[in-house]
Symmetry: C2
Subunit: 353 residues, 2 copies
């Protein structure tokens, strides 16, 4: 069992059922509820064995990013009220990023905040959203625009859950590990090069160093005033393309959009921050090894740009990115013009030629 200790909570990499039992025994909660979707109810809840006890009640929401809304929050809050959860109760979020972000937000705002724990079941939520205290929902097609910073009481990572996932989900999560290497750990990036098939990876090799990158950064800057923006590498363009795809009813998974964003923002890094051309080529090739082309074309640029202008990272309407001057290094708060961003999108589309 690996234990990553943060200031006010810990991340346990172990068998989730055992770790949760131990946690629940050590904390006397008045009531516990578990938030699931149809998939995690069917595939993940049974893997916890009897850890949750007979009194734990189940709240189910529909799966998918399109349900990460205030509407769904209202369902969850209503269920929490109906189930009699009080301030001394616990919410267990069993699922991917939608469950963790939305469930975390519901817990953080119910009675001005009750305890919650994250049990991420996808590679993406294990590598990314389960750590760092960002919880929230989408609103009017803008990602994570309503939310707060609130740390869970604990995170339980169990790679057994990954066996329940299809390839595109694994691919989605892999983008964050890919990103963590690029911005802060050249040695991790080097080791990732050996991966040929995402279905045959021993994730316990890569999750701890990837989490260590994120832990170091979020602890230095929990509220994203400075260096935490490094984690947004690939996300300024990635988020906009993700929102765009959501609006157009052909949703991309978060990490798929981020992989595209990483290629575009690596291009911006090459143009504006001195990233060597060989590194740009290596990053682009690595992305192509795992991610299929994302279909959009030049006519879509203005719509994507409009979404980018609503990004939380903007300052006075100007678009800011995090850029990498070299693999393993990062600069935050670089202002990028619309022309440069359009060029980077064109570079992405052209890279499949």
């Amino acid at each position: 069992m690996i234990n990553l200790q943060l200031k006010d909570y810990s991340i346990n990499l172990a068998k989730a059922g055992e770790a949760l039992s131990h946690f629940l025994a050590g904390n006397q909660y008045a009531k516990t509820a578990v938030l699931v979707d149809k998939n995690t109810r069917q595939h993940c809840l049974p893997l916890l064995g009897g850890a949750l006890g007979p009194d734990c009640f189940i709240i189910e929401i529909p799966p998918g990013e399109q349900h990460k809304t205030l509407q769904t929050c209202q369902t969850v809050w209503a269920e929490m009220l109906r189930g009699g959860l009080d301030r001394h109760s616990l919410l267990i979020n069993l699922g991917g990023g939608v469950i963790g972000d939305l469930g975390g937000f519901c817990a953080a705002t119910y009675m001005r905040g009750i305890d919650f724990v994250q049990v991420p079941t996808t590679l993406l939520s294990m590598a990314d959203s389960s750590i760092g205290g960002k919880v929230g929902v989408d609103f009017q097609f803008v990602k994570n625009i309503i939310g707060v910073f609130q740390n869970p009481r604990a995170v339980f990572i169990d790679t057994t859950f990954l066996n329940t996932l299809p390839l595109h989900e694994t691919r989605s999560g892999f983008a964050e590990i890919f990103k963590h290497g690029l911005i802060a750990d050249a040695s991790l990036w080097g080791r990732l090069q050996k991966i040929q098939d995402l279905r045959q990876v021993e994730w316990m090799q890569f999750l701890p160093p990837s989490l260590a990158v994120k832990k170091r950064i979020v602890e230095e800057d929990p509220h994203e005033k400075g260096i935490r923006k490094a984690l947004n590498f690939g996300h300024t363009i990635g988020h906009a393309v993700e929102s765009f795809s959501l609006q157009n009813d052909r949703p991309l998974l978060h990490g798929e959009a981020v992989a595209l964003g990483i290629v575009c923002e690596s291009f911006l890094s090459y143009k504006m921050a001195g990233l060597p051309t060989e590194s740009l080529a290596a990053i682009t090739a690595f992305a192509h090894r795992f991610y299929p082309p994302c279909l959009f074309d030049k006519e879509d640029f203005p719509a994507i740009m409009a979404l980018m202008k609503k990004d939380k990272k903007n300052k006075a309407g100007h678009i800011h990115c995090s850029l990498i001057p070299a693999i393993g290094q990062v600069l935050v708060d670089r202002e990028c013009g619309e022309t440069q961003i359009a060029e980077s999108l064109a570079y992405y589309l052209g890279s499949f030629a």
Copy 2:
């Protein structure tokens, strides 16, 4: 000008226009918006003079507790997005408790939190909700059940606004001052006795000592783990009656419900905590001097009790109150049985006989 300094913000008692101008000049916000309702737009916004500047945009919501909902939050968030508010922007909440609580919640959750200031325009919000960092909205007729703790950047209290208010609004706010005397300042309580007509009070005499009580308590216990529960004196029963009145379309103002709650919980204090019978009589008479009888009857007790069971202060389904063993003293977390609570409601109804 009086300035009450809390850990991370200050409460200014002065001319709000001048104080706000000074604040805005000292903080470079990308954008500012002011949240108002129809009434504060008409009666209070003009009193700020040109303090907000020409670029400040106005967000208007409908007035009244029945609009302190997630539905209204969505209107506000949509306007914030439409107006291009970013993380470096400010929301100014100009109004009573609904504006302050709802606007504070919208700001605290927009992009995971932007700055906001409170400009309370009612005696209730000046004496109570503008201080202490509780923000939130009602949900399914349960008061303030969705919310967070988040302090404003500053509070600007200007008693000039009180001239715009009808008597029942003054009466509503007065209940909190009344309460602050009872739980923690016997000398304030003594001075309040001289008041005969709420229309002829120099509030600057009573607001600073009343705010000082609340400041001392919230600073000692910001997240309501212990002594802050003292401020709930009168509120366990008061909130339930307020919710009940809201459900039944004959809404009581918050402070009117709290005054009723103070009488009931003083009765519980007499029964369970040793409050002398003369003190109970004095408190009841003082409440009757200013508050008309609230109309409900014995058949309504079960519905009121059911609402009380949803109170955030409950522990494992048991109702807890704060009680006063003597005027100026308080005990928190006293478990009260349903029979005792029904008796206290009956005492209230009987006290008009």
